[in-house]
């Protein structure tokens, strides 16, 4: 029987899932908006975030907060390093529409197999950051889910403020809108690209690290995240930051609610159906393809 309690609970679960989608998708949309490229290795940076957290938490036994910072920080650095190493040389060369695509697919395969080789195919379980539950309008919620929601929401809000208010944010948006004009203003577009790529990867890592206690960590975890991330981005409108966040929550909640109405095997079907429906009505996504 479907009670309002069950529906409410599923909406809460959907919001938590939505946080993950929003966080993964905003990284993808950020790169698309600034660099006009798709990053097919995004899922693998997500996976690396999960592994860093796992090792920090279970092998080195550091507190969850520090493990989280480590996961985000290390992947930020790895993202910047990767951009410098393989994306940078492709800039300003012919074939930019395709070359980053090929290169990031390569990185994705490399990282997946590296993880498999180094850490094995076993799923790694990660303990909850904080055990226990609390009552919300008569519904029991695990603290972990609250942490996911609060941390993601504040990071998104924080990043939005960075985009709008800081010198770096103004430089980033200017580069996204017109790279040559931004260069004339003294914005070093290449530096912006490196940092942007790093931040994008770090956002994926944040999502993975927060969700690791719920989903566990494995070498292939990035695959599903990437697909859902792309759906979210296209749903919200490629390049739109607001769209990525809204798209994430729409996708998360509809998936969760579909679990009550149908069964859990149907949730991807529902997600894709919504995706296709939205694209029929609004081919460029909810917010439209946007430049900042």
């Amino acid at each position: 029987m479907i009670t309002s309690m069950v529906v409410f609970e599923q909406i809460m679960n959907g919001l938590v899932l939505g946080c993950m989608y929003a966080s993964v998708a905003s990284g993808l949309t950020l790169i698309w908006g600034t660099m006009k490229m798709l990053n097919f290795a995004h899922g693998e940076f997500y996976m690396l975030g999960g592994y860093v957290l796992y090792f920090a938490l279970t092998v080195f036994g550091v507190p969850p907060l520090i493990a989280l910072v480590l996961a985000v920080g290390i992947v930020l650095f790895l993202g910047m390093f990767t951009e410098k190493l393989v994306i940078h040389p492709l800039l300003d060369r012919p074939g930019w529409e395709l070359s980053p695509l090929m290169v990031t697919i390569g990185i994705s395969i490399f990282l997946q197999n590296l993880a498999l080789r180094l850490w094995g195919e076993r799923f790694k379980n990660v303990p909850y950051f904080l055990d226990g539950t609390f009552d919300l309008f008569g519904i029991r919620m695990a603290y972990q889910r609250l942490i996911i929601f609060v941390v993601t929401a504040s990071v998104m809000l924080g990043f939005w403020a960075v985009l709008k208010k800081t010198k770096f944010g103004i430089g980033l948006r200017a580069t996204a809108q017109d790279r040559d004009a931004a260069t004339l203003m003294g914005v070093n577009a290449k530096k912006i690209y490196t940092i942007t790529f790093g931040i994008s990867c770090a956002m994926a890592a944040l999502a993975a690290a927060l969700l690791a206690p719920i989903f566990s960590v494995n070498p292939w975890m990035g695959h599903a995240a990437l697909i859902k991330g792309f759906i979210t981005v296209v749903l919200g409108g490629l390049g739109s930051f607001e769209g990525a966040i809204l798209g994430g929550f729409i996708l998360g909640t509809t998936e969760s609610i579909s679990v009550i109405l149908l069964s859990s095997e149907w949730k991807d079907v529902v997600a894709f159906a919504i995706f296709i429906l939205v694209l029929i009505v609004r081919p460029s996504g909810l917010f439209g393809t946007k430049e900042w």
């Binding site: 948006r173 809108q177 040559d180 004339l184 003294g186």
Partner: protein, 234 residues
């Protein structure tokens, strides 16, 4: 202050400039005349580092400009108002101005400089919260000039500031250009409207198919039979 010596510039394999040599002295307004595709915009883009010369040198006083990263050129006091204005359409008027002061030397005093720009173009103060893409053509040109001035340049380069504007607005813009110059900023001006630009300029160069074909004082060029026929329509 600015010297271009024997520049050859290419787009891929296609050569756009041949042996371009010109000079801009401190305090001058120098205009670069020529028809569409003559290489005027290419010349400005090469000075601001968006294009690299395959041969030749660019000097600003004693600094070799063509070896400097394009995003650092503005630090040496060269601001470029590009062809078609190239504003950031989804940013507000104020944000567009602020980014003009992006380089370290100008960022600290950005809020003082912006007041100066608002005095120069009061309409920009009225519209400061509006998105740049929603401004009229004349307002956009004012914003483009204002944005360049935010970097506190010593040399201001303008690419076709009159393009697509009503005569009345063009008059205002040229008045401002001349005022900016009187306050001590050197100006390099590209114009198709030779009448106007020779009126405000001290000296001029005429460019044809990627080469400098004539140079001289503005008054001399205005009296030149060839310039009269080809560019002044007389």
């Amino acid at each position: 202050m600015l010297k271009l010596r024997d520049l050859d510039v290419f787009y891929g394999d296609a050569q756009a400039l041949w042996d371009v040599t010109m000079e801009v002295h401190k305090g001058e307004i120098v205009t670069l005349l020529g028809s569409n595709g003559a290489g005027k915009t290419t010349t400005l883009k090469t000075i601001s580092g968006l294009l690299h010369p395959r041969k030749g040198e660019i000097f600003l006083d004693h600094i070799r400009l063509d070896k400097i990263e394009p995003s650092n050129i503005i630090k040496y006091g060269i601001a470029h108002v590009p062809e078609g204005r190239r504003l950031f359409p989804n940013m507000t008027v104020m944000e567009n101005l602020l980014i003009g002061a992006f380089h370290a030397g100008a960022w600290g005093s950005r809020f003082d400089t912006i007041q100066g720009i608002y005095t120069l173009f009061p309409i920009l103060a009225e519209r400061k919260k509006q998105l740049a893409g929603t401004l009229s053509g004349g307002e956009q040109q004012m914003l483009a000039i204002g944005r360049a001035l935010m970097s506190e340049p010593t040399l201001l380069m303008l690419d076709e500031p009159s393009l697509g504007l009503a005569p009345k607005v063009v008059e205002t813009i040229f008045q401002v250009i001349s005022d900016i110059n009187k306050k001590g900023t050197t100006i390099l001006l590209i114009e198709q409207n030779a009448h106007l630009s020779l009126q405000v300029a001290h000296r001029g160069y005429v460019m044809e198919t990627g080469r400098i074909s004539l140079e001289g004082k503005a008054s001399e060029l205005m009296a030149d039979e060839y310039v009269k026929k080809a560019y002044l329509g007389m």
